[in-house]
Amino acid sequence: MIALLLRDLKLALRAGGGFGLGLGFFLILAVLVPLGVGPDQTTLGLIAPGILWVGALLACLLSLDRLFALDFEDGSLDLLATSPIPLEGVVTAKALAHWLTTGLPLALAAPVLGILLNLPGPAYGPLMLSLLVGTPALSMIGAFGAALTVGLKRGGLLLSLLVLPLYVPTLVFGAQTVTRAAQGLDITTPLLLLGGITAGSVALLPFAAAFALRINLR
């Protein structure tokens, strides 16, 4: 599993892996929103938590369709399915690699974009914290969506249609954490609920995703 994780990380980091793509998209979004909404600092500060979370979510979505598709096309997924590692483990390793190459960098870069969007001071810590806690759920749910659509030739658009509704609870609790922090309120409740969603997704969705992969590999 560790070897598989390292392999996926290498593939993502080297040329053509699309590692910086999510980050670049996140940056562009943070630049486009003020251009669209107007440069008023108070307005930007009000909407910054939501924009940053929606941006992170969309950036996560970008690289999802490659999660299983490349391995499916060249047949390595068949090999992985017959290997001694259970397919659930393969899914988890791939989702983890996806998180390390998108979710984690997004969480680390988010405060910088927070400055661009005039995010209120007390919200920076909670922003990073909520992204660190919440993005694993995004990767895991995304892996499930990618497993569903892996056999399709044009799965990308359908994938976003399937995955985005599933992202709703994560987005709500994640953005609420940051919004409450920006207003100086207690963030424990939404943060714990967000953690609950992540824990539940990581515990259960590998089984659903592996089940979907087995159907697609039939």
Binding site: L148, L161, V168, V172, F211, I215, N216, R218
Partner: protein, 244 residues
């Protein structure tokens, strides 16, 4: 004693649904027509909301069926995954567009009522929001069915999506409550004593709700029959081509 699973046999299902479909269709037409005419024309106006309140006779039954259609899809998907009855998977497929339409009717009638009453077509109220999200779930489900060519793969994958989607739909509902306090009133009908609605309204409302339930049954039967016939046609064509 005859088992329920006998109807999982397509031939048996076609035979039974052949006479059940006209019966339920006529029953639904009568119930919905009588219920709506009774509700729209033969009930007194509400003393504060006037006649706008009467949209409840469309709004509540369609909202009820929007949720129940998903529940039915969930049960049918489970039956398909566990017992591999094709009729069950096809019934779930047939229920998808019907449920989506019911959700849309509930949303639109709600907007038409909300405009004079709340002064706006749309607010981001938890109930409204979760219904919109439910609609998105339906769209994803229907899209996945239509995107996959192999029928068994499609049935399997949509069933998994339905199971996972159910969990997340419920989560979204509670996330929406957490996210915003509502404008939508609580349930007007309740089994609890001291319910708030007068029988002059309850009568047609219950009739409409039952009528929509029967209507949903009739539509699912019709849809499932169409799917079974389409399956048979594909099988026939394949056999003919193999011969020729």
């Amino acid at each position: 004693m005859a088992s329920l699973w006998e109807y999982a046999n397509p031939v048996k299902f076609m035979k039974v649904s052949g006479w059940l479909l006209p019966v339920t269709a006529v029953l639904a037409a009568v119930m919905v027509t009588v219920g709506l005419v009774w509700g729209f024309f033969l009930t007194p106006d509400d003393f504060r909301q006037g006649s706008t309140v009467k949209i409840i006779f469309l709004h509540v039954p369609s909202a009820l069926m929007a949720i129940n259609a998903w529940a039915m899809m969930l049960v049918a998907s489970l039956i398909w995954l566990i017992r591999r009855h094709h009729v069950s998977a096809l019934a779930a497929k047939a229920a998808g567009p019907i449920g989506a339409t019911m959700t849309l009717i509930a949303l639109i009638t709600g907007a038409i009522w909300g405009q004079p009453m709340w002064g706006t077509w749309w607010v981001w109220d938890p109930r409204l929001t979760s219904f919109l999200i439910l609609f998105l779930f339906y769209i994803g489900y229907i899209a996945l069915w239509s995107a996959i060519e192999d029928p068994d793969t499609a049935a399997d994958l949509t069933a998994v999506l339905c199971l996972v989607g159910s969990v997340f739909a419920v989560l979204s509902r509670y996330a929406a409550i957490f996210w915003n306090q509502g404008l939508h009133q609580g349930a007007s009908l309740s089994m609890a004593p001291g319910t708030r609605m007068d029988w002059s309204y309850k009568g047609p409302l219950y009739l409409c709700m039952t009528g929509f339930g029967v209507l949903f049954l009739a539509l699912v039967l019709a849809g499932t029959r169409t799917e079974i016939r389409a399956r048979r046609m594909t099988a026939l064509l394949t056999r003919e081509r193999a011969k020729g």
